[in-house]
């Protein structure tokens, strides 16, 4: 633990909101290693968790977008929760994505996460029906009151078709069980407004999704990032976060440049929106960490793209040696 996160005390009688006092730093959205359509790649999962934790990250977020949460069966999601919580074993807080189009299923998953000592749950808006903002606010407040763990609303309009507007967010932050916010809108002007808003809520934090925005978000008042690339190079993102908190602008620039190199070389090899997840999983497979199978509707890169990724991840690994502090 780096001190950026207030650790929870297992078995503490305090309510959920006290368990995870302040969520900051790098909380990688872990990919889900699969060996078959409905089977975890268990050895790969174990290696991946250690690989990520070895980079000094401040938390671990499973079953998010990068984790292909909505594409996985509920059975597999529960197995992943159980295995991950057991292996992490309190070393860092574990956040569990409980995003679902059904209220009860999200709640059931959250309860399962609580039983296995996860630290918080993360939830996008329901993503089949586009809701109006008042409907969205009512939904979040209702489910926040029933969640057995602290809740992190998650803005992901590219997948959910709906943006959490600032007035709605203010209502969510007023709820004691909402402890942080994750924004993956990619809209920096919006994020800056969120940062300003959240200053009114001491102890509550905002994490940025796209890693290309981690440097500025942290330099200018944000509290950390949920950086997909931290599956591959966890130390890079931790270093960048620490440099930004310390105000070491030169180092921030060098590390941000490296983050952009990762993004530009690994995330644009395929043609579709799936290129990021495919790129990360493929690169992990090149590194020997875990398998690169994806959940439907996606599939792993074919050998041509795989060759490109393996070559580039090797080159990145070399460069990284020179950049690190």
């Amino acid at each position: 633990m780096t001190g950026h996160l207030t650790p929870h005390v297992h078995g503490s009688p305090s309510g959920p909101a006290q368990r995870l006092a302040r969520l900051t730093g790098i909380v990688p959205p872990m990919v889900t290693p699969l060996s078959d359509r409905d089977a975890l790649d268990v050895p790969g999962l174990e290696r991946l968790i250690e690989h990520i934790l070895g980079g000094g990250v401040h938390g671990l977020f499973i079953l998010g977008t990068t984790g292909e949460g909505p594409s996985l069966s509920h059975r597999l999601r529960r197995e992943l929760i159980e295995r991950t919580c057991a292996q992490v074993n309190g070393r860092v807080p574990v956040l569990v994505g409980v995003t679902d189009t059904c209220f009860s299923e999200s709640l059931a998953l959250a309860r399962y996460a609580a039983v296995h000592d996860a630290d918080a749950v993360v939830l996008t808006p329901p993503y089949y029906f586009p809701a109006g903002q008042p409907e969205l606010s009512e939904y979040y407040l209702k489910i926040a009151g029933q969640m057995p763990l602290p809740l992190v609303p998650y803005n992901m309009p590219g997948c959910t078709k709906i943006n959490i507007e600032l007035d709605t967010l203010r209502q969510l932050l007023d709820h004691p069980n909402v402890v942080a916010y994750k924004d993956s809108s990619g809209q920096m002007a919006y994020l800056h407004k969120v940062i300003r808003l959240i200053e009114d809520y001491p102890g509550k934090t905002v994490l940025v999704g796209p890693e290309e925005m981690l440097a500025e978000a942290t330099l200018l008042g944000g509290h950390g990032g949920v950086s997909g690339g931290a599956n591959l190079f966890p130390r890079l993102y931790v270093d960048l976060y620490n440099a930004a908190v310390a105000g070491d602008l030169d180092l921030v620039r060098r590390l941000h440049e490296q983050v952009m190199r990762v993004s530009c070389s690994l995330y644009g090899v395929g043609k579709y929106g799936s290129s990021i997840i495919k790129g990360i999983k493929c690169a992990l497979s090149c590194l020997g960490v875990c398998e690169d199978r994806l959940a439907e509707p996606f599939h792993r890169f074919r050998s041509h793209e795989r060759d490109i990724i393996c070559e580039r991840v090797a080159a990145l690994n070399e460069q990284m040696a020179g950049v690190r502090v």
Copy 2:
């Protein structure tokens, strides 16, 4: 049974594609009566099924968009499948929405539907991750080959963020287990191209979603509709379909006018996209058929909107007496 649908023979040794030879006519997308968040309004469900079947419909579609399928727990979806199939008991084909963001969950639901003697399954594209067209086509072909029942792909870009393009659709129609197509894009030029395309596949059919387009779709080569208003006034849509098939243009015009009256008076009372489902459920409650509770993220109309709906549904009932053949 009107003869528009070839009935399936229970216990027949034929494979799935033979059980439902040609899907045509009015197949209402049944709303799901709820008495609590995760509880069916069972008496309401029984009344609703009889109310709809009493109108002479050609099939029944459960767990679609109007049925709030993605908002319901898997437990409740299974209970609804079992109860509906048992009560319909072969009087008309039952189509089951198995839309899910997880391949395995869709398949599990389809198997449950097959065991309970449903006749076909209906499936939108996965709706969290936006897929490219080749990814989409691969997904559909893979799942079509494993489905224990005939498959009806369902185009619903307003909820799924993706349109099934014509080249993709052609590949799906080439698969023997794809027996029909449901289009809710609302794009009439697209639908006309689908109608032309499907002429190359004798025995395969296309049903239109929005009931405002039922008249022209049927007049100009389509095969029927999945009309939400048929929850309320099933006979109206059946009469319109029959008039269009018979080429009785005067009657089509009168009935289409009545369909537009339903649409304009009941579906626009609320402010958001949820207004249609809220309006139908509320009107059913005014008629004493079933409860009007909605699944999250929506809620039933408050008393002010309810008063408006009850008044309008009464007026529509009176008008309908004069329009019917």
Copy 3:
């Protein structure tokens, strides 16, 4: 003149709203023949006008979307207005697109059209800044009051980013100088609601843009179409319109099938949204009517696509002989 349009009397002392009493039938959106970037193909223009009028159309619409109005210089737009009005010479009403992002430029173009005896002007919402509905309504009412000719608002959300909502449209229709409405949204449910709304305004009419929807729009209460394909085969669309007005369903079906053949064979050869205009201009060139040069940002088809179009337009011409009444 077919009688579907009340002719205006040149030199009549009546105000603008009286000159064009009721706009119905086929009003082709004429392409603009170009011989150079800023030069009309004058002989081509003359042939094209006669070609279209020879098909018995009920009006002529210049400088619309198909006419590439917004891509042409104001000087060229004025030359086109002058030449077209002079050559048509009252044989059918001429409608002039005055769409512009600047209020004064639209007004200036409308005045030029009035001076040259055009019959009405057609205007989309301003298309750079997305306006709110109240802003849009205020804009239209203000300009309607100053227009020297009857005004036809034109809904084209694919190009303008904004849909004219029903409440806004009602306010526009309340204005005495708004005489008709053109809808190119492609949303049939919306168009049916417009048709219902416009029944409250005797003498005012609605024309549909996409020709694939001409049959049903006319069968079910619409008043005609602005069909791009009528540049090529004007008689086909006139026949279809007349058959629909006469309620001859069999003929409507045969002609609609032919319209779909035109659409499917000529409008999808290129890869982008420009394919329709490119296809029409190219086909006109194959037929020897006019040049196929396009205004920037588009360019004519290269020789490979051109060969395909020429072959297909020849085949369509042959088929057409057999379908016509």
Copy 4:
């Protein structure tokens, strides 16, 4: 002149690309003061130019989005070019927006700007017809070759419906007459990729549109901003830019905070996308600089919103005193 911009030498025999060697710093997008629909508020314009230049800005950009360029008549645009160039008189470079849906009109405006000694022209993609990327690239390359002044492509997908993709941008940057790029996409991950790309083109620069992103864009490799708020508080944005160039992180944070205060208090008073321009013009009117009339389809704030803006701009003025270096 601060040295950030290489001044052009009037009457120099060098070609256009040499006149404006490197565009960096704060280049405010000036609003266009209007006294009537088609009339400049000339005294207001003169005061506004001096107000902005008094803040030490590095250039002046007229007829952009904030300048309501597309909403103004061509006559008025030319008058504004002439008056602005005359008054600025070489003190800073003047950039002229020549965005239009017609190639020839853009070119004509650019020639007018060149004659009056403007320094560069700025051009979005044509914004009526959505073009494919190859069409867009061809359009830009063709017009770049004919422009009498250096060209700055301007990415504004919210108004043009099209994003300039990186591969397209690379082709534009290869053209010698393209000297800089303005990105108003609001997508920070995209902007970071642009910054990386433009490193391959020494002497070429990228300016960011939304002022909320000015701090990080400049800290992390960008070259300045086209900040709307610099109409009001030019010194604030210049100070922020200079602090970011100097790497003075503490000062950057304080000034960025002040920029966010401007944004949050002045740009969200109205309900629509027009709120930013309305807010800036209204605030300028409160400050006594110029009139607040807007071009259609917009209108100035009514008295209620005006009272709010005047109060807030006064408060901001007070705060600003304490924040400045």
